[in-house]
């Protein structure tokens, strides 16, 4: 094996630290030097292995909430906004207008604050370029993803082959000082958010919704479920039954 003058540049090459001229030169060199090509492959494999293994810990929802409180000490924590949320200007304008209009028209009471937050969360999901943290139509992928992230567990329903519902994925949310799961389903052209939290004493049946969204809620096995969707009430009811069956 030869000791190429380029060998010490392999790390720089893999890290994208070479200037364009050097990059061109090393590219030409790699065409004819098997040893250096192997070295680059090894460095790439190593870098990838460290990247995968290094991402070991995820910030817990409580930390997000604490940091939000630090930044807004005079305000209530409000709905937790995920860090990767990116609004397009158009979508944001349209949806915010809708939310504000809804707020002005309905003026929910304090007891309905959770439902209001969940409608906001559903709107954010609809507008987001990254609507879910785990993307999968397989419940056996989505359910394990939540393990260790939530202080409870639940069973997404097994969807039959002909079911109009498709699981899109899930993500962690934080509302009313509590971590929860949001499962996103698709039915035809509509999205349905299913929110799951641990039951609390104050929980109860939420209002039926408003002119824009259907809201459906129930308690089962120590958990509080909410469905928020712009699909029909019949669709919401059908999904509710599937969820109830799966968690009995």
């Amino acid at each position: 094996m030869t000791n190429c003058e380029w060998r010490e540049k392999m790390g720089l090459c893999v890290d994208g630290e070479l200037d364009p001229r050097e990059e061109q030169a090393i590219g030409d060199h790699l065409q004819g030097c098997a040893d250096c090509s192997s070295a680059v492959l090894e460095q790439q494999a190593l870098k990838k292995a460290v990247r995968v293994a290094g991402k070991r810990f995820t910030a817990p929802p409580e930390l997000y909430a604490s940091v939000q409180r630090q930044m807004h000490p005079k305000n209530s924590p409000g709905l937790f906004a995920r860090p990767w949320l990116k609004w397009s200007a158009l979508a944001a304008s349209a949806f915010l207008l809708g939310v504000i209009t809804f707020g002005l028209l309905s003026r929910p009471s304090a007891s309905n604050a959770t439902v209001t937050q969940l409608i906001d969360q559903h709107v954010i999901m609809l507008a987001s370029v990254n609507p879910v943290d785990v993307i999968s139509s397989d419940k056996h992928t989505v359910k394990p993803w939540f393990q260790g992230k939530l202080p409870f567990t639940f069973n997404p329903p097994e969807l039959a082959a002909g079911s109009p519902f498709t699981l899109v994925g899930g993500k962690l949310i934080y509302a009313q000082h509590a971590p929860g799961a949001e499962l996103v389903y698709q039915v035809r052209q509509h999205k349905i958010s299913v929110f799951i939290f641990q039951s609390r004493d104050v929980s109860g049946e939420p209002p039926a919704g408003n002119q824009t969204f259907v809201v459906n809620g129930w308690q089962e096995g120590g958990l509080q479920y909410y469905i928020v969707t712009d699909a029909s009430r019949e669709d919401a009811d059908r999904l509710r039954e599937l969820l109830k069956d799966a968690n009995r």
Binding site: E42, R56, V67
Partner: protein
């Protein structure tokens, strides 16, 4: 994640909402980095909270044209280094660096297949066994995908030191993998 540089002219009038927009997307990465540094979930959570508190307070003095991400990681690391755990680890770091001997570079064929076979747990063990000075550099380079200059700013060390520590860190991770999976005593370094 690409480096976030606050452009000239944006600094005056920076407000909390600007801080939030810049800082919150970094939270997961900061927490992960803190966990590796501290080795303890509660301590890492406190460290991140303190980092956010300090950086929020100091945001008005944040210098224009500098890298916000590197600034945040620097605050986190400096905060960590002044903690009890940080002081203990800094002593370890000095010992490790003083005791490190540059081995001659052999010319053996790399065990690429072994590295690709390495499972996450094995690589995590290899990272965990690195001296703190090497661990933080390899995490910032390979996980946070920071440029060398950004790492130098975050750790407040010369760029040459970044490069040498990174090379050594990778060498040690590679050796751990190859020795564990290949069971060989002699490990070539490319």
């Amino acid at each position: 994640m690409a480096a976030t540089v606050v452009a000239r002219g944006n600094v005056s009038g920076l407000e909390n909402k600007d801080f939030e927009k810049l800082a919150v997307p970094l939270l997961d990465g900061l927490y992960n980095f803190a966990r590796w540094l501290c080795g303890d979930a509660d301590e890492a959570r406190d460290l991140v909270q303190e980092t956010f508190l300090k950086s929020l307070k100091g945001f008005s003095s944040f210098r224009e044209g500098t890298n916000f991400r590197a600034w945040m990681f620097r605050i986190l690391r400096n905060t960590f280094l002044t903690s009890r755990t940080g002081l203990e680890r800094r002593n370890t770091q000095q010992e490790d660096e003083e005791g490190f001997e540059e081995s001659s570079v052999s010319q053996e064929t790399p065990e690429i297949a072994l590295i690709r076979r390495a499972n996450t747990e094995l690589v995590q063990t290899a990272i965990a066994q690195l001296a703190p000075a090497f661990q933080e550099v390899i995490l910032l380079a390979d996980l946070e995908e920071m440029k060398y200059q950004e790492i130098a700013e975050a750790l407040d060390i010369p760029i040459g030191t970044v490069m040498s520590r990174l090379a050594r860190a990778r060498k040690q991770v590679r050796e751990h993998i190859v020795l564990t999976l290949g069971g060989r005593r002699t490990v070539g370094v490319k």
